[in-house]
Symmetry: C4
């Protein structure tokens, strides 16, 4: 059922699936997820990624690391070797291994195992392995054959279509934040914690975005007046990106109902509900 | 008037209303709310729930507990026994008491009284009785026969219809929060309070959601730069769920006025509520 | 021009405008704002209100109060006597003074002057005069004859139409906040500052609304996990009221374009763009 | 290609482009950006502005200023003299230099160089040069000939069209914030940090906008109750400006696709861009 509609994965086409032999079977298991074994492999891989991330997280917690340090160290190397074998298998079964190594997932895959080996020489480097969590993006490969692909694509399209509006919005916000940050640096000064313009801009961003950590706060009356103005402004202009995205999603959703009317003559879909003639062939409805 | 349109409560059907006798009368009073006595019982129950919750709240305030401790203790037991009697009455008057005990409200009802009895053996356990507030959900049973049911259902439907989009959004947010939290753990380190990856992720969530408690704050320049980026990102992507829900609600609202009125002559639908003639064939309504 | 469309003020009708004489002239000046003198009186009154509020604000600032205390005291009494005279004039020139005294603005007017007299006997009472700022609501009386009335009414209508959805939303939020506040009281306990259930609920509200003062923060791991969940939840469900209001405003705005098509036979407006027959008289377009 | 649609810049018309000679060539380079040299000049200018802003930022960071102070001082004077020459060139090549000096960009340009000269006499004045960042607004001049102009104009129009609704919203918010701030000043008083009404209003704004710095927090039970109410209110009414802007942007976006295509046979409008036949009369396009 899903086979018929399965979108051809552009990455898989580029990498080149071997014609037959054990490499083709391996390829089907590792890179495809519409066979039972392929799906089982993907699920096992995601389980392994989650467990290995859990190991990294637990290692960072002092009391746990002090008590189970050896176990966690062993688990860490177990997953590193497992992922190394998987990486080699991936390189082996594609026609163009270099292209895989350079692809988005290829880079993430190598970045998930390299830090462990590097940490043999440079202690502490293994912390960068947090990047391993990115491998979870593979989860979308399993999901993409299902209903999630439509929603996922729609959100992405809506963001892409709004990118110019969002760019203009962000550049205006950046100008405001820089200007007001500089003003606050002049008004409050280093004696109230605004030690430099970058620090004041950091404060301005935390105020405009309504985060408000409270590590820096205005102490003078003028500073508080400017801060009040910034808070109201930031609170208000939050409406702008929301409006942009909202209307974009609404627009896309609004287009969908159109695809329900079919012309009996040319079988095209997407005619408006009030149309009396087919807009493609001119047949009377 | 409301009788005609009254939706048949699926829970009541499952529990089985007794045919007649005192159990049927009791059932009508306790489980139904469209007779005067049933309504009065529900209102009295909600009053008792509110009062019992107030007792729990007051018990938690030290100065009041020190002064009126005995009175509050007595009131607590009064409500516990009252709710125990009510629970028994509910079990008695339904055909299938086990099914009631296992239902959503059955579990909440037993959880509202058990902690009091448990606290006889384990001191302090009665605090869990805060769960008693959930009994207030019964308030929707009274409301559901009125106009609120339509609005309530619409909000629920809109959330259900958007669940896949919201799931994708949340999983992307979780990935970002985990990645940036790990980065901050590496950048700021335990000496600035980021003692473990879970702590850093907690901070990342409080920053991205614009809460910004300020118990943990970045102290290094790189940390502040990443924090600034996270604040802008979190502030911006808040627009996405809002856009999803907005367009979903707009869509549902837009559909309603259309599907209601049919022309008896040409059978077109979508006539406005105040139309006197069909807009397509001119027939009088 | 504005005279023709001037809405009849329901308050003015109830108060009863005197037929003629100096009371009618005084009434026209004080209560109406469509004559030049009436408008000038209103503008002068708003100026006086703003100045008197400024006096109250300045009195509250210690350094200024210490230095200009006598001047501010004198100004305060000047405005009190001025507003007392105005109040008497209002009572004098209406037919039913008691009805005026009981109306919304009548109560605000008396509350703006009473505290000054009360403070002669009870020192410090004059601070309540901050309520005087409410008199600025009169500003909408001047604006209401202009273009602002349409926008104002539309926002009000949109909020009114959404009131049931907003009520359901707020009651669900209140249940969540109370439940999670109680849970945090149990988890964190008085030793981390969560001294009572009301305090914990206050913290829960400040977290769910993304305010995050930081005076109370979770210190345990379970507490931080619950807090993270609450922050994401509060951040996410903010989308719901926004969606409700957005779609309500969009809907109202969407109805407007309909009013552009006029039936040539019966001259009604508001026909849909695709209608072929008038929906009111059945005439063919 | 862009020449045909190039909007005539109203500022350039007012300033008056010289007819010919070296002044006309200089004008084309400095004020216009559709020739290769004009574009190169604009890009170089934006690079110089960014670098000069970077110098100001670096000067404000103590450790860097202590080490590279002389270099930064020299760079600062280099950019000041560069911008002075540019300013003179701009004055020279327009027909009406006074009009340029008074225009928006003319004022920003002079404000970018004056503080450096002033700081020769008044030390510390050069900090105001942060205003130099405003010169980056010129970046929109380059962008405006491209696709960004449509998006930019649409956002501006949407904000302009909503200005009355936003004004009403802000005035209501201001009334609420002032009233509740005064109430908190009375309730909490100077002993909890609410030292004056302006301070309390500053706190009220930081609470209503969900910023929540935490430098001032309510300590009394009544204060916390009022604060809880304010947080929920502020969180909720954030939906109003978002709804206003959302519906405004949606409306503008919805209007566009309709008004573009007219059927040559029956003169109906609103045909979809991909239609081949009129949906009302069946005529071929």
């Amino acid at each position: 059922m899903t086979t018929k509609q399965r979108p051809i994965d552009p990455l898989q086409q580029r990498l080149g699936k071997p014609a037959d032999g054990w490499r083709a079977s391996l390829y089907a298991i590792i890179f495809e997820s519409d066979t039972p074994t392929g799906r089982a492999f993907d699920l096992a891989l995601i389980g392994a990624i989650l467990l290995s991330v859990l190991v990294i997280v637990l290692t960072s917690v002092q009391p746990i690391a002090a008590r189970y340090g050896d176990w966690l160290h062993a688990a860490e190397w177990f997953f590193t070797i497992l992922f190394t074998i998987e990486y080699m298998a991936r390189c082996l079964c594609v026609q163009r291994p270099v292209m895989y190594a350079r692809s988005f997932f290829g880079i993430i895959d190598i970045m998930s195992i390299l830090p462990s080996y590097v940490s043999l020489f440079i202690p502490g480097a293994h912390v960068i392995m947090g990047v391993r969590i990115l491998r979870l993006l593979r989860i979308f490969r399993i999901l993409k054959l299902t209903l999630y692909i439509e929603e996922y694509g729609m959100l992405g399209e809506a963001l892409m279509a709004s990118r110019r509006k969002i760019f203009i919005f962000l550049s205006v916000v950046f100008l405001i934040v820089f200007l007001l940050g500089t003003v606050m640096y002049v008004v409050e000064g280093p004696e109230h914690g605004y030690t430099s313009i970058p620090t004041a801009v950091y404060w301005a961003i935390s105020t405009m975005t309504t985060v408000g950590f409270g590590d820096l706060v205005p102490k003078t009356d003028i500073g508080r007046t400017i801060a009040s103005f910034m808070m109201l402004l930031g609170w208000g202009i939050l409406a702008v990106p929301t409006g942009i995205i909202s209307s974009e999603i609404s627009h896309r959703r609004g287009q969908r109902p159109l695809s329900q009317r079919v012309c009996p003559a040319c079988l095209t879909i997407g005619h408006e509900p009030d149309a009396h003639y087919c807009k493609d062939c001119g047949a009377k409805f």
